[in-house]
Structures are given as structure tokens and as C-alpha cells.
Homo-oligomer: 249 residues x 2
Amino acid sequence: MDLNSPDTRQMQLQARLSRGQPLNAAHIALEFEVSPDTVRRDLIALERAGQARRVRGGAVPVARPAAPLEERLETEVPPGLVAAALSVIGDAPTLLLDGGTTVLALAEALPPDPGRLVVTPAPRVALACQRRGIEVVLLGGTLSPRGGIATGPGTEDQLTGIAADIAVLGACGLEAEFGLGADDLAEAGVKRVMAQAAVRTMVLTGEGKVGRRARHRVIGCDQFADLVTDAPEARTAAFAAAGVRVHHG
Amino acid sequence: MDLNSPDTRQMQLQARLSRGQPLNAAHIALEFEVSPDTVRRDLIALERAGQARRVRGGAVPVARPAAPLEERLETEVPPGLVAAALSVIGDAPTLLLDGGTTVLALAEALPPDPGRLVVTPAPRVALACQRRGIEVVLLGGTLSPRGGIATGPGTEDQLTGIAADIAVLGACGLEAEFGLGADDLAEAGVKRVMAQAAVRTMVLTGEGKVGRRARHRVIGCDQFADLVTDAPEARTAAFAAAGVRVHHG
DNA sequence: TCGAATCCTGCAATTTCCTGCAAGACACCG
DNA sequence: CGGTGTCTTGCAGGAAATTGCAGGATTCGA
């Protein structure tokens, strides 16, 4: 009475794979009472569908780095940092948000406000805001391989039509003399234009980046008004001396 | 005493399906003392009613509840559909990918090819491709509230500079006379321009959308070359007659 | 390096599917 | 009562999918 078609077999195998279970071809052949060739064909189908990775003698689940970032949000970004950033933002109606885990945590914490507009080159941030019912304008461009924001001359062009209240920039490195830096040249360009497209620029970063000098300069410390960080005051004194309002989260 | 009409048979079969029971056509033919052809016709009726998914040798219950998007990927997009789409795509170096769950499943299954370029207005698709090591150009614009793709005149402008090999479009509705449709006006515009920006356009959609007429027309059936779907051939005959290559997944 | 297991390719046999068609059952109407 | 139309059913013929097998290549382990 058990239906034995390629579809049903493959669905059962897929279920096991999604449970993280490796598949032994010979064993499955016995279990489903089909030849090993048939099992092999099933595994080929699953592999073509991206559901499995074939290895000698069977198949294993494809590595799914699905949610590491989502979870890192809750654990690695201190709640106080996000809260401080929110209070600096206030109810500014138009925000320009950078990418990166820290800014993403901020986006996840934004109050659901249908009257607010978020402009961002980071697809993750865009999705987070959309989930919260906030209107989003996504900036296009070439996705930078690491940081995950759109970059390129086209991206910077799109920003010329934007007039935001606050730009929130993450950091690959932040140092008092050098200023805010990024490790990717294209990213640095976009961040720089973002800062220019906003009335006020805020830098939001964890203490790990403070004092580090990144490869490319985005803007100097005279170009942004606020710094939100959880670094101790001793390491932010230089910024305060340069005229930056420092908020400790 | 047992009334044996198509309706009573189908109601009994539906009851078994809702219990999660797979149906074996040959077995049912013996049980109801009818020919396998009649059972096949019953199963076709159930499939049209959305109560079952036909597989070789019988039918299985259709996946029930609407899970969140991430999980629907694994359960509701049949592996065969994705595999068929992959084979149509071949190794075309430049792809233009739409949004939607089905296209997203395709993106998740793309082979990691550093020489390939994917252009998309869908942030989810962009992230999926980036995870797989594929170069991504993200199209910017206002995020449509439902489908999750960037829309607007700016988005369409960005496409003028694109020359892709294949555009893969999802569907809110697909009907032979009406063509490919979308429920959001802005989305329809972007999809239309996407089709124009590619040498060849392929429509990828599950059977649920076939036969449904959406609110806004994207392109007519003479504007796309390939249709990949898991709908039965009976429901795709009209597309084949219109000159569309139909691939069944 | 050798043996064995596994994999790939093509092929033929079987099963299942699709399509069209004609016969029977039944309701309805003149 | 007879004719007509619709619905359903089974059947035939061809198309398509699936499967197991044979032969040769490849890989793994000793």
C-alpha cells in the first residue's frame, strides 16, 4: 500500500537531509526495495535541486548557513548599544542606514512606524525594516562580497536624490586621527556619499572597532556629529575632543 | 449498497488525503472495482481542486499549512521544479532573477559559480546568491510591500544598462490568453522591463498559479520562450500551442 | 600497485500516463 | 414512448517516465 514513486522517495530523503541525516545509498536501496542505480538517480535529482551534496556511497545535507547572522544579532550586539542609538535617532522621519551586524540590530529594533522611510544599500537591513512595516527604499549596485551592501557608481548616483535626516554608518575601523574607515574601497565610497546625503551623520559601532585603522578612509571625525559605542570612555575621549558627541550604550 | 459515483469516490479519497495518507492508483482501482483510468481521472479532479499532488503511481497530500517563508522553501517547492529550471538555465553566465518563493528556491540551488553574474531586484535572492559565492548586482528602488522586490522608475532605469542571457520571472498568475500577470502595478512594470532586458525569458511557477489571471499584465505568452512548472500537461497545453516551450518539473 | 567498491553511460523492458473514441447510463423534453 | 444531450466509463494506441542491467571508467583503501 505504500506508494513508491521517484517523487515520494525523494521527498522522504529530502526530509531526512533537512534533519541533518546523511544518506547511505546501499542502505536506502534495501529499505525502499529498489536498485542502487535508482537510489543514485534520486540523489542526483536532489543534488540538482540543491538539497543534497553527493559523496561517495551516498549523500550528505548541503551546508546551510541559514540563520547564523540572525542569531548573532541577539547575542553579540549589546542591547544598550541599540537603545542608545534609538534615542539618538529619535523620531527622525527619514533614515539612511548602512549595513553590518550592528546597524542591522538597530534596524531590527526600530519601532514599527508606517510614516518613516528607511533608505539603505544593505539587503538585510531592507528586509528587516520591511518586516517591521517600515517603508524602504533599497539602493542598487554590486553587492560587496563581505559586508553585504550595494556599491558602485550607480549606488552613489541614487543617493544624490536623497535628503535624509540621519545617516547611520557602521565601521570596519574607527580612529580619532584617521576617522571612520572601511576595508573595501567601493564600500567606503558609498558610505562617504551616504554621509553627505544626510543632515547629520551618526557612527554606530561596537568597541571592537574603536581604535582600529581601516584600509580606506570614509570620512574624518569632523564629518560626523554623533558616535554611539560601548567602548569605555577612556577610548572615546579623543573623539569627544574632536567635537563628536559620544553616546555610551 | 455502495453508491459508486465520481463524487463519492473523490470524497473518500479526499478524506484519506486529509489524513495525510498517500494514494496508490492501482490499489484504489482494485478496491473500488473500477479501471485505473477512472482512478486517474479522480486524482486529476482532486489535483485541480488543490487537494492532492499527483505523483507517478498515485497522489500524495498537498503540503498543508502556510509556514513562514524560510520553511516553505524546503517543503513547498518541489525539487523537480527547481531541477527543471536549472537545466533550462544551463550555464548561461548572466541571469536576471525575479523575487518570490519559487525563484528564491532556484537561487538557493544555483551551483556556486564565481564566473556567473546574477542581477535581481529581490534582496532575498541577492543574499542567497551571495552566500553561494555568485557575483550579484542588486537593483534599487522602493520595496514592494508583499513580494519583496525593488520597484519604481529608478529600478527600470537601472535595467536599461543590463544585457542578460535569461530572465527568470515568477508569477502571481499565469493564463494562456492573458499571459503573465502580477498583482502589484509597480512589480508588473519592473518584471516587464526585466523581460525586455534579457535575450530569453523563462517563467517559473508552481501549479497553483497556472490558470489564474492576475490583476496586471506583465507580458503576453508570445513574450517568453520557456515555462517551467509542475502543473500537469493538461493545463499547460494552451501554452505549448502558443509556442512556449513547456518544461515539467 | 592491486582489488574492490562505486560511479557513469547507454540500452532495453516495463510501467504508467495521455489522448481520443465509442458504448452505456441517466435525466430531460417533446 | 422515443429521441437527445450529458456524464461516465473502459479501451486502444502512442508517448513518456522509470527501472534494472551490462560494460567500462574511476576512486578508495590496503
